[in-house]
């Protein structure tokens, strides 16, 4: 083998090995083309890919060295040898004509196939490449074509990966946004719920205060009556004391060391005063007055205690409470509400167990039931005292039953389904807020997991409340 042969083989090896060193198409073509051009002493070269466009093959410029080769007259002349577009079947005819070696006024050119990819154009100024070199170049160019395909596939893969990553990013971003929106919505709902609860508490509190207001006049009256006779009795007792006081002073003067005359004198003075003032009679009266007053004070004390228990600031916490006692308190403080309209009969089951409940809220319900029953009776009977209210407690196996029954005109069938709706009322403007039964329903059903039922006819209405023993 001659040195020339060895050199040629080595140079083709150098060209071959320079091809496909990168999967980046531009980088790969730049490096490969640089070696091809240098080793073949070409003044420029360009790679073109076939592309199908409207059922025709066209070729697109992909890479060239130098970059501005498309303005090179020799290159333009070489490209003139190629059809800019061709029918699909013409492509194989075109390929069969390659390699195309030619010469223009501006230099020599070689157009060689890059199998399945496109073609390579090489420019040379001094002389045309020999047939032997062109023939030997086919193999490295096949490798170049394969590398181009690999780069294109890598590019597509990268693009698809980028698209996928972009999609995932967008989706993640969307999810994050939705998540954020959801968080905001949850926060907003929490805020609204908190607001609702606060308003509910405020409403309930205001309802209670409204009840306290309603009851205040009656309670005042209830207190006023015993206070009246407590005052009278106290005045009487003061008078009695004033009357007894001189007698007591005479007795105070009495001394066993005194002589008989003085003692007798004092005795007769006392005796006279006793008789003159009918002390014996007055004493009986005073005892009665004290007893009456004590009774009155006890009554006032009971009313105040009941009122205090009813009106104390609400708490959400449940505690073990006596329903019977709560009902007694309610009847006490609401006495003035119903006593001019109806007779109220309390039928308490004394076997009723204490239950874990929010007694403050239940008081609200009980009072509401009494007030509603009284209103219904007043509407039907006025102040004729024909109205009857029955308040009963019963011990069921697993719950406590509380009934409020009246012999009023009943609830019309067409509205009975709406009575628990907030703001629903049949009372005249200013008398009812329409919240009473709605709040009662919420307290019994939602807060205490119990139930509230109503039976109504023209003969009257029965509200039945059941509170489970285990809440």
């Amino acid at each position: 083998m001659t040195v020339e042969n060895i050199r040629e083989i080595q140079l083709f090896y150098e060209i071959s090995i320079s091809i496909g060193q990168s999967l980046d198409l531009n980088k790969m073509l730049r490096e490969s083309l640089s070696v091809i051009l240098r080793k073949l002493n070409c003044s420029g070269g360009g790679v073109h890919f076939y592309e199908t466009e409207k059922n025709k093959y066209v070729y697109k410029d992909v890479f060239s060295t130098p970059r501005n080769i498309s303005k090179n007259i020799a290159y333009i002349e070489a490209l003139k040898m190629l059809p800019r577009e061709m029918a699909l079947k013409q492509k194989s005819e075109f390929i069969s004509e390659l390699p195309l070696l030619g010469e223009s006024d501006y230099g020599f050119y070689v157009i060689m196939e890059l199998p399945d990819v496109g073609f390579l154009v090489l420019l040379r100024n001094n002389a045309q490449l020999s047939d032997e070199i062109v023939k030997s170049l086919k193999l490295p160019l096949s490798k170049l074509a394969v590398s181009c395909i690999s780069c294109k596939q890598n590019m597509e893969l990268s693009l698809s990966r980028e698209r996928l990553e972009k999609g995932v990013k967008e989706r993640t971003l969307e999810l994050l946004r939705s998540n954020e929106q959801l968080k905001q919505e949850i926060e907003e709902r929490k805020r609204i719920e908190g607001e609702r609860l606060r308003m509910e508490v405020e409403l309930r509190e205001s309802k209670k205060m409204e009840s306290v207001g309603t009851l205040a006049a009656g309670v005042a009256h209830e207190i006023n009556t015993p206070m009246q006779y407590i005052t009278d009795n106290t005045a009487f007792l003061k008078k009695f004391i004033d009357m007894v006081d001189p007698i007591l002073r005479k007795i105070e003067e009495f001394d066993f060391e005194d002589d008989n005359d003085r003692s007798m004198e004092l005795f007769w003075d006392v005796r006279n005063l006793f008789n003159e003032n009918k002390v014996a009679f007055m004493r009986e009266e005073a005892i009665d007055a004290i007893n009456d007053s004590l009774e009155g004070i006890k009554q006032v004390r009971n009313i105040i205690l009941a009122m205090k228990e009813f009106a104390h600031p609400g708490t959400k916490a449940k505690s073990i409470s006596d329903i019977n006692k709560a009902l007694e308190n309610i009847l006490t403080i609401s006495r003035n509400v119903w006593k001019y309209t109806a007779k109220l009969e309390l039928e308490l089951d004394h076997t009723l167990p204490e239950i874990n409940c929010n007694i403050d809220e239940l008081n609200q319900v009980f009072l509401n039931m009494i007030v509603n029953a009284t209103d219904a009776l007043e509407e039907k009977y006025g102040k004729s005292m024909e109205g009857r209210i029955f308040v009963r407690t019963k011990n069921s196996n697993d719950s406590v039953i509380i009934e409020f029954e009246d012999n009023g005109s009943g609830i019309p069938a067409e509205i009975i389904d709406k009575i628990y709706d907030p703001f629903f009322t049949t009372k005249e403007v200013g008398k009812g807020s329409g919240q009473g039964l709605a709040i009662s329903y919420d307290i019994i059903v939602n807060k205490h997991k119990g139930f509230i039922d109503v039976e109504s006819s023209e003969k009257g209405t029965l509200f039945k409340i059941a509170l489970p023993l285990k809440i």
Partner: protein
């Protein structure tokens, strides 16, 4: 074109002549060829260079040529009446420096550009890469002419003359409207031994045919020359045996080896790519002188303009003068035989293209640029 010569090689001489040239308001660019032995230092020259209002470019070379004389100390200053567009590239050896990005479209809108002059620090690495980048961007629509500056001590030092001062590890690229014709020839011949560069990095060859580069090179050179090749006196014999990067059906590109590394690697002026096919060349004085004449003829022929006044710029590798020794004057006489003025430089590497071949960075090659004066 106003061409002056200062034999003192002093900074003051350069300044004085330059100021005198600049009295002519038609002068738009200054081109300077100076010697490494000149009394030029950045401290002495930078303030002056930076103060100039017109572009200046040039380099400090081992020697320069004025007419048919090789000058080791002195300065040639050319006042040029055409405008130039200058780009300075710093840190050439830094692999992060992206030449194509930096050069970019600097000259794309310079429609009248006819010739690109390039002066580069010859000790820099990646010079061939820089030249390839220029070819990738501007192709062969223009002529390229230039060389690498530097010292025969092979130490990197400021040697590129610019408006930013004296620079090292830098290149100055000048787009010019000056018309030119370029001829290139080297006159070296293969001693018919082909090797593969099995490991290299930029301008350092580590192995040839999987053996330490120096070991292989030494074998061939000693066999051919009958002389002993040592690491210590490497260049004194290696200058007669440059390496050549082979091409198919075209002239090889010569690379001058100048130094042997501790690891038996060979360092050249200019890159040698791994997997390149290289040969070892040699020559004789007549062939070398003939090559210079051929380059001159090619340059003159390539200068198509019908202009009576021309300037011959002779860019010759310093190693050729060392190889020729006393006979170098013959080469000078050959290239300066025309009726036109000749100036030039003996460089560490040559850059040239006649608008036909792939643009390359050469070593031990004679380049002739014929310029419109």
């Amino acid at each position: 074109m106003d061409i002056r010569f200062d034999r003192t090689g002093s900074a003051s001489g350069l300044k004085e002549i330059t100021r005198d040239i600049l009295k002519n308001k038609d002068i738009k660019t200054l081109f300077v060829l100076g010697c490494d032995l000149n009394d030029f230092t950045p401290e002495l020259l930078d303030p002056f260079l930076k103060s100039l209002k017109i572009p200046i470019y040039g380099g400090l070379f081992p020697s320069i040529v004025f007419n048919n004389e090789k000058i080791d100390k002195g300065t040639i200053i050319c006042g040029i009446t055409t405008e130039s567009n200058i780009k300075i590239i710093h840190e050439i050896s830094n692999k992060e420096t992206d030449f194509e990005f930096l050069i970019g479209d600097t000259y794309n809108h310079y429609m009248n550009m006819k010739t690109m002059f390039i002066i580069v620090d010859g000790i820099s690495k990646r010079i061939a890469e820089l030249i390839e980048s220029l070819f990738n961007i501007y192709g062969l629509d223009i002529n390229y002419l230039g060389g690498s500056a530097g010292s025969m001590s092979f130490e990197m030092k400021p040697c590129v003359i610019s408006n930013e001062g004296l620079l090292q590890d830098a290149a100055i690229i000048v787009g010019s409207e000056i018309k030119s014709g370029v001829g290139v020839n080297h006159g070296w011949k293969s001693i018919n031994k082909v090797f593969r560069v099995t490991e290299s990095d930029k301008n350092t060859i580590y192995s040839l045919n999987w053996r330490p580069a120096f070991e292989v090179y030494k074998e061939v050179v000693e066999e051919h020359s009958g002389k002993k090749l040592t690491k210590e006196s490497f260049f004194s014999l290696a200058k007669y045996y440059p390496l050549a990067i082979s091409k198919l059906d075209a002239e090889s590109i010569v690379r001058a080896p100048f130094y042997v590394g501790k690891d038996d690697s060979i360092v050249c002026f200019g890159e040698v790519h791994q997997e390149s096919v290289i040969e070892i060349f040699t020559s004789d004085p007549d062939s070398i002188i003939n090559a210079a004449e051929k380059a001159l003829n090619s340059g003159m022929n390539a200068f198509s303009e019908n202009e009576s006044d021309r300037l011959v710029v002779f860019i010759d590798c310093i190693s050729r003068s060392l190889v020729l020794g006393n006979k170098f004057q013959e080469e000078l006489n050959v290239v300066s035989k025309t009726k036109f003025q000749t100036i030039g430089a003996l460089t560490l590497g040559e850059i040239a293209n006649n608008g036909k071949d792939y643009l390359e960075f050469y070593n031990t090659t004679a380049v002739i640029g014929v310029l419109s004066k």
